[in-house]
């Protein structure tokens, strides 16, 4: 599950970060969880259409999520956090793509066997061992991204391996699961989701922690993506593939960067997380040096400084500014806003002076760690979320002094100020304490949200394995060896084998990757096989020329294989036609049922050019009189342009060029 993919953005550059990091020295390791939507007509557990997205809704449901307790009588970390946020969750429903299953008002229908087949096929491509009996599990999510409060998910394959940089990338497991809702807005205590994407089948591929550098992470994402897409049975396009990147350094902990929408984002994110963990470990050592090493040693006291703040000159702490913000954003009490009157709370952290400005990620400090938690857990989302004594507005020092005095802060203490509804401020203060407690232990397990500049922000506490339980609504699915064999027999060639074959034929690597990734490779291979076409020419034709034409708006996707085959046969019998490919293919895209021979005839390409050399000579001669340009080269180019267009596809281009040259020589 990942949040909705953000709009494409400029790729962050590692080089923009001032400080390099010696990844081997700090023991950086990384692994992936790649989510890839499968191309099925229906969703995974109901018969709603998959991939039909809507922007409007015709029904709304309000729900709340309640954590279930573990057997020890305590809430698990994520569940507790998400419960403390006290979120109202609204789902926007559209009849076109949502039924009562997605609303969690109907139990699941039998699992979509086409999706299971596709998932098995994916597992086989990834070199996995297919499990004999697929059991659906429920994985709890309390953020509302799934109306049940859990995601139905099942392991299909384990123990896979991909060749990677001369070694291997291990695939720990592949599961088939239902996709989550798309987030519409998240403001304060109200989160709104759209259910169109909910329930679409996807596979999650989990790699081992085998990656050692940011560049390797990017390359691995692209590799897994190519392998998945090479079957042609997965969805492509925005949001169809998202990856979570797990990162840790030696002595740190696994942090999941969730929903990285593009492989190109990964290097900067991994680099930044590596630095973050290194810096948090240094902060831990500093806290220990000051005697702050245990949960009890972190002492936090709060003081209500609402009235003091009204006398000061920091607008965001003043009531009128608060009321304006509430009104402008149409924030409603009992919905977006939490309980209690506006409160400005000073949070004194004993002995923690200097820690708020402690660097973490590039361009970020420890105060940003607190901001993320306060925003998500306490639901305080008015920028800048919090203020603190180590980056206080320069023109408001007297107010800081007054607040520090009221909060009994001495020079050794850190001071954080939060504001908002009273109850949320109390939650925020408690969470600031908990984040400091976590800091005494180094790096907390977190899920973090990625941004295009390579930075991340807190999303939630990383859930563990202890939130999984069997789905009592679904029987297990047996996967027979016969089924596995049937699917194995129809597998496409492994991408790395195909890429090696193309490379041997002289196809550029980028072209080969494109063809494998977008499924064009199957067409190339079939044309080569059935029409005897040249591999390099055909790969270039589809991987570069047709791609370019499509990007210019020609709908080449509508052209059936038979037309392509006709075209390539025509290329063989009348080689000059190759020069007219663009005009022919454009016409094929408009009338995909029209035989290529008819198109060629309609374009007048089927008649041999008569006395064309004479025509060229005459044209070149007259060209000199049609322009004031005296430069012979430019006159020649002008003349070429005039004669080439009518002859394209009928006479080989090289011959036309030669004829033009000859005529020009005669003129001179």
């Amino acid at each position: 599950m990942t949040p909705s993919a953000s709009a494409p953005a400029a790729r962050p550059r590692v080089s923009s970060f001032p400080e390099p990091l010696d990844y081997a020295a700090v023991g950086l390791i990384s692994g992936l969880e790649v989510h890839q939507q499968l191309l099925t007509e229906q969703k995974l557990f109901c018969r709603c259409p998959a991939g039909r997205f809507t922007k409007t809704h015709d029904g709304t449901v309000l729900r709340h999520m309640r954590p279930t307790l573990s057997e020890l009588g305590v809430y698990d970390g994520t569940a507790l956090m998400e419960f403390r946020t006290r979120k109202h969750i609204i789902y926007l429903l559209n009849r076109e793509n949502t039924c009562t299953y997605e609303m969690d008002d109907t139990p699941p229908f039998p699992v979509n066997q086409t999706a299971v087949d596709t998932a098995i096929e994916q597992c086989l491509m990834l070199g996995c061992d297919i499990v004999d009996e697929v059991h659906i599990a429920r994985k709890q999510y309390l953020d509302g991204s799934i109306p049940t409060g859990f995601q139905r998910t099942a392991i299909v394959g384990v123990n896979g391996v991909l060749p990677f940089r001369g070694r291997s990338l291990s695939i720990v497991q592949v599961s088939v699961e239902e996709d989550s809702c798309r987030e519409v807005t998240d403001r304060g205590h109200l989160i709104v989701w759209r259910t169109d994407r909910l329930g679409m089948p996807l596979i999650e591929t989990v790699t081992g922690p085998d990656l050692r550098t940011p560049d390797e992470v990017e390359e691995a994402i692209l590799l897994v993506g190519r392998v998945c897409r090479s079957t042609g049975h997965v969805r492509v396009g925005m949001g169809a593939s998202r990856q979570d990147v797990n990162v840790s350094v030696r002595g740190g902990r696994r942090v999941e960067i969730k929903g990285v929408p593009k492989a190109g984002w990964a290097p900067a994110l991994v680099h930044g997380e590596g630095w973050r963990q290194v810096n948090l470990l240094r902060l831990r050592d500093e806290l220990h040096r000051r005697g702050l090493a245990t949960p009890e040693s972190i002492r936090v006291e709060t003081t209500d400084v609402t009235e003091i703040a009204q006398r000061g000159n920091v607008p965001v702490l003043r009531r009128e500014e608060w009321e304006r913000w509430v009104q402008d954003g149409k924030r409603r009490r009992t919905w977006e806003l939490g309980e209690g009157p506006l409160t400005v709370l000073a949070v004194r952290v004993r002995g923690a002076a200097g820690t708020l400005a402690w660097p973490t990620q590039p361009q970020r400090t420890f105060a940003d760690e607190l901001k993320g938690r306060v925003r998500v857990i306490a639901g305080l989302d008015q920028q800048p979320i919090l203020l603190h004594g180590e980056a206080w507005p320069g023109d408001a020092m007297p107010l800081l002094a007054e607040i520090r005095a009221a909060a009994h802060c001495d020079d050794a203490d850190a001071l954080v100020v939060v504001w908002g509804p009273e109850r949320d401020c109390r939650t925020a203060a408690d969470d600031i304490r908990m984040r400091y407690v976590a800091a005494t232990d180094g790096v907390p397990n977190e899920t973090r949200q990625p941004f295009e500049d390579g930075s991340t922000d807190f999303e939630r506490i990383l859930p563990g394995a202890d939130r999984m339980y069997p789905d009592t609504d679904s029987p297990p699915t047996r996967v027979t060896r016969e089924r596995v064999e049937r699917l194995t027999a129809s597998l496409p060639e492994r991408p790395w084998l195909r890429e090696a074959r193309y490379a041997a034929a002289g196809v550029a690597t980028s072209t080969a990757h494109y063809l494998v990734r977008r499924g064009g490779a199957a067409l190339v291979d079939r044309i080569v096989e059935e029409c005897g076409a040249d591999v390099k020419f055909t790969a270039f034709f589809f991987g570069e020329r047709v791609k370019g034409l499509r990007r210019s708006g020609v709908k080449t996707g509508a052209i059936p294989f038979e037309r392509w085959a006709e075209l390539f046969r025509a290329f063989e019998t009348r080689p000059p036609l190759r020069d007219a490919w663009a005009v022919i293919v454009s016409r094929m895209a408009v009338t995909p049922t029209e035989p290529v021979a008819d198109i060629v005839a309609a374009l007048g390409l089927d008649t041999p050019a008569v006395a064309w050399r004479e025509h060229v000579a005459a044209r070149v001669q007259s060209a000199a009189g049609e322009t004031y340009d005296a430069d012979p080269g430019r006159v020649l180019r002008y003349a070429s342009g005039r004669v080439t267009d009518p002859l394209r596809g009928r006479v080989p281009a090289v011959e036309v060029v030669e004829a033009v040259r000859a005529a020009a020589g005669a003129v001179r």
Partner: protein, 477 residues
């Protein structure tokens, strides 16, 4: 309360626990486990013929599943089944039996709050997960409930009694009698209200029979359940329970009532009269609807009464009990072409009361007449309800109806068929005299027949119409 019936081997309660170390496994899978010396709850490393190693706990297997797979809960929390023929080795590295005991927290007692007794009939009102095994553990005692639904402590002081542990379709005479008696006992012991945790499938049957068996209650009797299982974070169970305890502890309606979601959204509950309510959707949260009338109240943070035609709370009133019950009764759901031998068979098998759910205003076909006449002559009491659920049996309108009246079939106006069945069983428990049975069937105890149907007592919005869609898109579903 939840009606979700586990298909996978969820070891539900200690009651069904056995000492079999291979429980649920049979045939080939069992033999394979025995061969490797493995056992359920064993923490193992299992290796298959492809060399894949699965690390996890062996789970019990549902006996309805095949005998070819061994189920493991992996360290990642996922379950997988391994085919017995592909297993090459099982190495036990530990043993982790599911923990069924839930540690209790004392339910705080607050003197200013009313005392409410929760009577359990089965299912789970709240539950916890044993994450290590995936088992769903029901929570029922006040301490357990407090841990799961702490808001209850702000509503009432709670006492709980588990009467039985049955799915609601297994509720029958024996349970109804015990339940009615327990209600009386608890009320006489001073309960300010009674909540009954119940599966939703036959909840309206129970609410109906209790409406007849328990009369003149001084306090509310509230039946509650959940439509979506309580182990899911989005369950309606907790909110239903809070609403029910509020209705029982502080509500003013001293009748048997059903308390379930109004809309499917987490908004408010409706209080439905026990004799006029029906489950209308197999899984929707807002499944219960009052039929032929409007509900009695909405319950949120406050209780909003929708009309004042109900019995008020009155602690001085003395509760009366009549637990008579004869279960030799049935509902005959009429369909075109029904053969008379069905009626004869019922008579022959000793049934004493038949509720016909007839078509339209209360009709059956002519070939059935002789059989009905024979049944009537044999002393079987036959009453007529309508399968349209809404509207009245009005048998004077057509000849068919008048003919049936002549055969001794008695119309029950707009009594719901299930309510009629419960009432007929209750009446037949104390008399077999035909006139007396008919008199009592038509003698209204608590709104089971209405003199007048308000026009907003029948509202089934037809989706797809512009005005309906405008309404539904602008209101919480």
């Amino acid at each position: 309360m939840s009606d979700s019936k586990p298909q996978t081997p969820v070891p539900a309660t200690p009651a069904v626990e056995t000492k079999d170390p291979l429980r649920g496994y049979r045939g080939r899978a069992r033999a394979t486990l025995e061969r490797f010396g493995a056992r359920v709850w064993g923490d193992v490393k299992a290796t298959n013929d492809a060399g894949s190693v699965f690390e996890g706990v062996i789970l019990p297997r549902s006996e309805t599943f095949d005998d070819e797979h061994i189920v493991l809960k992996l360290k990642t929390g996922y379950n997988v089944g391994i085919h017995y023929e592909r297993l090459r080795a099982i190495e036990e590295v530990g043993y982790r039996e599911a923990v069924y005991k839930i540690p209790e927290q004392a339910f705080p007692s607050r003197p200013h709050l009313p005392s409410v007794t929760l009577l359990g009939t089965g299912g789970t009102i709240a539950s916890r997960l044993d994450y290590r095994t995936g088992a769903v553990i029901p929570a029922f005692t006040p301490g357990e409930l407090y841990g799961a639904v702490p808001e209850l402590a702000d509503v009432a002081n709670l006492t709980t009694k588990k009467l039985f542990g049955v799915f609601s379709e297994n509720m029958a005479r024996e349970q109804y009698v015990v339940l009615a008696q327990s209600i009386k006992d608890e009320i006489e012991a001073g309960a300010a209200g009674i909540v009954i945790g119940h599966g939703t499938d036959t909840m309206s049957h129970t609410a109906a029979i209790l409406s007849f068996m328990v009369q003149d209650s001084p306090v509310p009797i509230v039946v509650v359940g959940s439509q979506r299982s309580s182990d899911r974070p989005s369950s309606d169970a907790a909110l239903n329970l809070i609403h029910a305890v509020r209705a029982a502890g502080t509500g003013d309606i001293a009748e048997v009532q059903i308390c379930m979601f109004g809309p499917t959204s987490d908004r408010y509950a409706l209080l439905h009269r026990g004799t006029r309510c029906r489950k209308m959707h197999s899984s929707y949260r807002s499944t219960f609807r009052t039929v032929g009338d409007v509900p009695m109240a909405m319950v949120g943070d406050e209780i909003t009464y929708l009309h004042n035609d109900y019995r008020r709370r009155d602690p001085s009133r003395r509760i009366r009990l009549d637990t008579s019950y004869d279960d030799r009764t049935t509902i005959l759901y009429y369909y075109p072409g029904m053969k008379p031998d069905l009626v004869d068979a019922l008579v022959e098998k000793g049934y004493r009361g038949i509720v016909i759910a007839g078509t339209g205003l209360g009709h059956v076909n002519k070939p059935l007449y002789p059989a009905l006449k024979r049944a009537h002559a044999a002393g079987v009491h036959i009453v007529m309800c309508v399968q349209t659920l809404w509207g009245f049996a009005q048998m004077y309108v057509y000849d068919t109806g008048r003919d049936l009246l002549d055969l001794g079939v008695v119309p029950l106006d707009n009594m719901l068929p299930e309510t009629a069945l419960m009432k007929l069983s209750w009446v037949l428990g104390s008399t077999d005299d035909h006139d007396e049975v008919l008199r009592r069937m038509r003698d209204v105890v608590n709104h089971e027949m209405l003199e007048r149907e308000p026009h907003n007592g029948y509202l089934i919005l037809q989706g797809g119409l512009p005005e309906t869609d405008e309404f539904t898109s602008s209101h919480w579903k």
